[in-house]
Symmetry: C2
Subunit: 200 residues, 2 copies
Amino acid sequence: MSPRKSVAETAATRDRIIDSALALASAEGLEGLTIGRLATDLAMSKAGVIGHFGSKEALQLAVLDAAVRRFTLRVPARAVGARPGTERLARTYDEWIAYMAEREGHGGCFLTSVATEFDGRPGPVRDAVLAALGTWTAYVKDELGTAVATGGLPAGTDVDQLAFELGGVVLAAGQSIKLHHDPQAPERARRAVARLLGAP
Amino acid sequence: MSPRKSVAETAATRDRIIDSALALASAEGLEGLTIGRLATDLAMSKAGVIGHFGSKEALQLAVLDAAVRRFTLRVPARAVGARPGTERLARTYDEWIAYMAEREGHGGCFLTSVATEFDGRPGPVRDAVLAALGTWTAYVKDELGTAVATGGLPAGTDVDQLAFELGGVVLAAGQSIKLHHDPQAPERARRAVARLLGAP
DNA sequence: GCTATTAGCGAACGGTCGTTAGGTTAAGCT
DNA sequence: AGCTTAACCTAACGACCGTTCGCTAATAGC
């Protein structure tokens, strides 16, 4: 039959598994993700799937990590070209909203879904979610600070409050897109962000 | 041993089950809710538990219904005393935020958690979530319309946009409370709502 | 007192879960 | 050519899943 895979190809298999797992977890949740179902989808055995990770929890962490990396490559990386502060933030949120709209169930949307799923379930997965979210809010607050310093936002601006409200807009957009399939959601989110950032 | 329960008491048992199920589902999700675990918590048999509902899905719907009823009794019911429009809305959101803060994991917070959990999983549970959410947004938009009509909000106000942003604030509050346990979240949410409603 | 009803139990059902052990086969190195 | 490594398999494990089946026993209506 088909020849055995070379060592270089095993990483590709791992990626293939994570790809499928990410799609599955987007629909069923990270806990609803099942090794058996994954194996069926990939036409592999359960042992062949889990052999790449060691345990289901390790698989969950790998999937989460892949989602975060994908998000980072897609959203903030496209905004680094913009001037730090208000401009970069506006671009970041534009990219984020577009990312959520183009594929319902990956990346940023996925992270907040997992955050909701694991908010009452302590453990390594929850810790990883908190870490990723912490990195993100640090980035946002840093840019907001720059925006205040460069005059893009008024001097007395409460950066923490603004980050809180921007987070709310994204959560609302995610719900409107994934749950209600509202085609107007991206435009509403953009308008909300523009108002919060002073409509630059 | 203990005497058998009268018919009047069986409804109490049902309530006891739903109470426990609501607590469990708040931590583990509505799908992570398990009849066996529930039976252990209640010191009952699995058959005794499921006998009151017929199936797990029926139990899930009953739990969801109980959460919605509890929320309705707690939040909007306490705001009917306020004048329709801006005042009533401000009171409603105040009550909602207080409700989320006092018990992490019930009512409004619970509904949005389930909404996230089932957003990619069609079926009766998702339909029930959409119905409850629809009733709620209809109420909010109605009050917003009244606020515009009575001058509490400017004439050209985009009611749908405002409802979208108010929803975002509540989602952000829920995440800050349940996931980050941020004690400042309620105050931030109140401030955001006040700004959206024109700080009355 | 007799009977019908029903809440709840114990036990078992077929399935699926995550995980492990052992075997097979191909690739890479010496 | 022989040996090691590792990817992937089949098979099985015990645990738990939701559900169904009688059964017991207490109540309610007669």
